[in-house]
Symmetry: C2
Subunit: 257 residues, 2 copies
């Protein structure tokens, strides 16, 4: 293991279940001598990617918080999604959680969420937590709009075959409804979001308690989520067009240096 991979291997050791590590533990887990592990940790330390906890233990450092903020401020999907998520939850009128999710390696990850103040539950999907690719409305909505080539590379030709009908149905309907697939008692309505020029495939979903999703309300919420998703798509496309060399109005647009 060399270069960046070695550093990332150390960072990937840290988890919810094991949030602090001694250098000896790291060396053991990665099968490298301690002197090497010490050097690696020293480098990570100086960049703020790792920091000392008590008693010779190390934990993830504050640099991630800084980069996360930059991501929040500059990722077009998050920018477009923030207000829409808030509005969606408010207009839903029932306790719920709105999620904006995307592909992340071989998984799906929520990159923005908004919880309504009355919601007393929290879905497994939450900002920054990788989730399985083939379960849950949120993930399936993404798979449904993935180019065939990328899809089979991700989940394999067999799995593509198994899901073909289901994904086609989602494409046709424009949404995916899942009840208790991930969390017992919760239901999700998910709608794909695609932005061709940026090459991104994501999904917007609303999670509510299953028992609240019946009859006319189900249809109303479905339409809400679909129109919110289209709003995000439009924002993404507008932003993209606004990138051209000439600004539509004569007004100068202020920007940071």
């Amino acid at each position: 293991m060399a270069g960046l991979a070695r550093y990332m291997a150390v960072l990937r050791l840290f988890s919810e279940g094991m949030p602090t590590w001694t250098v000896a533990e790291m060396a053991d887990a990665l099968q490298v001598p301690q002197s090497t592990a010490y050097r690696t940790v020293r480098d990570l330390l100086s960049e703020g990617l790792v920091e000392m906890s008590s008693e010779a233990r190390y934990r993830l450092g504050p640099a991630f918080i800084e980069f996360d903020r930059l991501t929040r401020l500059t990722d077009p999907l998050m920018q477009a999604g923030a207000d829409v998520l808030r509005a969606l939850v408010q207009e839903a009128g029932v306790p719920g959680v709105a999620l904006l999710c995307r592909l992340y390696g071989g998984e799906v990850m929520c990159i923005a969420d908004h919880v309504s103040p009355e919601a007393s539950f929290s879905p497994s999907y939450e900002r920054g937590k990788p989730m399985p690719l083939t379960q849950g409305a949120t993930s399936k909505a993404i798979l449904a709009r993935l180019p065939a080539k990328r899809l089979s590379k991700l989940i394999g030709a067999d799995a593509v075959e198994t899901m073909r009908a289901e994904l086609a149905a989602i494409r046709r309907a424009g949404f995916c409804l899942g009840r208790g697939e991930i969390d017992e008692g919760l239901a999700g309505i998910a709608v794909p979001i695609v932005c061709e020029p940026e090459g991104l495939v994501a999904s917007l979903s609303l999670v509510v308690e299953s028992h609240r999703l019946a009859g006319a309300r189900e249809e109303r919420l479905r339409h809400l989520v679909m129109s919110a998703a289209h709003e995000i798509e439009n924002l993404l496309n507008h932003d993209h067009q606004a990138r051209g060399p000439v600004l539509p109005s004569g007004e100068a647009v202020g920007g940071a240096d």
Copy 2:
């Protein structure tokens, strides 16, 4: 430049003002040949630290969101602070923003914030944004409790001399009040938080509009912030004690693998 530093140099190029970069621009900014820049970007890409935007431009990747979540879930200060921040803003009874800040390299960074629903302003301090070390109540509260050696290493012996009286006053009073030091029209009440065993120095602050901070209310809010800060300190110390080898109750404590 070698090892991790080279990768971080690329990541540090991305900013609010310049959120996407071409490889040619990176090579130029860092004074390295393009072939080297391409290799570096390829590595970052495969780890999700960078991702492609449109048209040969790259931006920060989603890996930071994942690590940020882990940080949020496992950093003892953020864990202890989350509920306290919320409660503080609620009990304050005026529109305000509660901030939990800490040292980050040669700067101060907010690691958690909570904005009251009625607040129509937002202070310059916000989660993940590095701020100057010597300005603002929030930063000064941290400096006040920093060991002398660390302090002079950070800001230099001259600056220490200049601030000596001010910092001593903060230590004596147990808080720092700043009016418009950072943001015109806003005032901050900041209280230091120290956890010896973890070696951490931080501060809790409440930012409100200056005109709301008068007479009895100022004193009431000051006491609120101080008791909230002490609550965080207590939580940190309790957690630390609970780390001992024997659990107080016979009940098994479930943990991730």
